[in-house]
Assembly symmetry: C2
Homo-oligomer: 219 residues x 2
Amino acid sequence: MSRSDARADGQFDARFHAQFEELLLWRRDVRHFLSDAVDPLLLVRLLDLARLAPSVGFSQPARFVLVESPARRAAMRENFLRSNQAALADYIGATAALYAQLKLAGLNEAPIHLAVFCDEDTATGRGLGRRTMPEMLRYSVVAAVQNLWLALRMHGVGLGWVSILDPRQVVKDLDVPPTWALVAYCCIGYPKEVHDVPELERSGWERRKVASSAALIMR
Amino acid sequence: MSRSDARADGQFDARFHAQFEELLLWRRDVRHFLSDAVDPLLLVRLLDLARLAPSVGFSQPARFVLVESPARRAAMRENFLRSNQAALADYIGATAALYAQLKLAGLNEAPIHLAVFCDEDTATGRGLGRRTMPEMLRYSVVAAVQNLWLALRMHGVGLGWVSILDPRQVVKDLDVPPTWALVAYCCIGYPKEVHDVPELERSGWERRKVASSAALIMR
């Protein structure tokens, strides 16, 4: 069953069920961070949990880059500002700009910047399961980020996923191999406030859709 | 802090930390299922947990389709067989075919087939955060699938993600809007055996890479 006879057999009790549901409820996109440091050993340990996520053909394509140099962080902010400027030209304008500013606040405040890439050129997994759906490789990286998000939140640490970026420019600015694709640029730190309602919902940007059995389509 | 004063403030204890790590370890891609039924109410409840995943701009693009008709299930198997045949023409051959057959077993045995799509045409979220990285919409659906995977496993139910499929053909065969993109085709049921080591690792297809602080790249 398990390579370790000492380990339990993967049964979980009702108390855990309830707490896990709480964790999913409290997992929020964080935009405002305290400057308090996050223990680097904690981060390394939680990245190991992230790596337990499924990957297509067991390809394990996630690559984690900690961005600490002030010059490189400035390049990320520049990229964000340019990308956001371009976005404003063709969409909803003032309100969108406001919410985008919140992400900029995260970029300025978060003690940890973590870029997560997909190694599109990896031989690991030998291509299994990704011929008709090559995007499975990047999806495997997303699963790792979601594991990380939950694991961080469990320890009270918040994550904000910044996607208003030119991903190819990030590859250049962080000097990683050109065969790596940016999947997530993550701001990580202790949140200024803790919420179980998404900021975009609280602010009226968008409402949660009613989820019910009616939303399950039958074929 | 919370809309419900009764709810805890999102703190998690050491016992939960350890159990959550166990859950991530035990979350496995399942290929062999028992025919035992899964309670439909449990599935509906866990889909609600899946929907708690983050989504770009709070766009909530995941669409869940339960595939029950024998004719449609047969179409999925046909799609799989065609896609797998095409794959064999250009890769490692016999061994890959063997592992692909395991997925076919899952398609034949799993009591629940769940197709998960991304509604690429949704107005929800108003485009926020997906102009430079439009793939964020599909990534949001992957996060929901990963939530679902963990929630199912917590209840002892297994999921197998089938990606040896022509995704556009699935859209046609399941008669969903052409603006929906297939993200995951999931076989769901109670597993025949429970493992904490990936089947592809046990069988020698691929090894787990050593994850350590050395794997964290600094910039």
